[in-house]
Symmetry: C2
Subunit: 227 residues, 2 copies
Amino acid sequence: MPDRLSRKPSISSAGTPAPAQRADARNNRARLLRAAREAYALDGTTVPSSAIARRAGLGAATLYRHFPTRDALISAAFSEQLGRCVATVDEALEDDDPWRGLRTVLVEVCRMQAEDRGFSAAFIAEFPDAPGLRRERARAEAGLARLVRRAKDAGQLREDFDSSDITLLLLANNGVLRDSPAASMAASRRLLAYFLQSCRPTENGTPLPAPAPLRLDDLYRAPGRTG
Amino acid sequence: MPDRLSRKPSISSAGTPAPAQRADARNNRARLLRAAREAYALDGTTVPSSAIARRAGLGAATLYRHFPTRDALISAAFSEQLGRCVATVDEALEDDDPWRGLRTVLVEVCRMQAEDRGFSAAFIAEFPDAPGLRRERARAEAGLARLVRRAKDAGQLREDFDSSDITLLLLANNGVLRDSPAASMAASRRLLAYFLQSCRPTENGTPLPAPAPLRLDDLYRAPGRTG
């Protein structure tokens, strides 16, 4: 199976493309990825590829040459964000204060989502052509679970916190985002502050109702957006 | 200005319509309202009128005869919910425990929104043909502000709670709704439980960041949904 994420443009009729052709191809690839992130940020990952090509000012054929499948485009567009996510989780696991580690990750993922509405797509894309990205994501999810466990074991996180609550938070955070980045950040910060305060264990606190049946791939299954 | 919300169908060429015609018109009106609520619940109030007529199994001309403007249709579709909202606020103001009163209202509006995603449209529709509905809504908003004030004065609500936090909650709640009513209710209840716990004043609690610049009419200005 060809590596569809390779940076090398597939130019079928030539053995080795000329340098100018290679530079063009790189430039087009970058324009397509930027357009994809912008489009996902506005409308989610269900936006048609033709709309992404149009936004990039390129033809659909050029898009398909670089990214033969929607997943290939999504994974390329989000590999950087996924990498930042993994790095944040890894750093948090090094923090000797488990609650501070978990809180830092939640702050960071909410911030990334507020900056770029397409961000959470990285958690549901199937990445069929990028096993490395699938592994990265699995590592981030396992790291999150360990952060939750550590904070509970340290008595810093309420016992009835459920890992689905991270998905719940990201869905809620997505709901409060506005058109302007400043308004999005303000709403996201305020919501997260409310959420974090309730995550702490309290004496005679009210128990939460049952966790919602949410998984990370619910993040892009918002009703009325995708089928 | 004609009363476009009148239940009387406008049959231009006849003085008094025959009983069968009147029954038909009433039946069509009910079908249109039900279709409108369903469509708003799925896709928000920006759904085209033609789609609502199709869902009702009626022609666009019939829809326009009953509801010449989008606002007329929205206000008719939501007058019942607005009425329930007003009644809930009025009852809460009678509660001699201010916190219980406020909490009941928040529980109830989140539940109404979880049952019907089109619900919050009632807060932004302009109701140009229904000054009664505008007055009802203004009464609900004033009542909410009084509930917040009362709970703060009683020391039952954190002082830095801002009335925009009710909009923030409804936006977040909208974000967690799923395709199935049961999953929506579970997610909504869990989110609200987190939120309510942080609303209570605490000794040495962390102050919240600045309120988000939100107004109730932000509820249907979600980025990527309306222009």
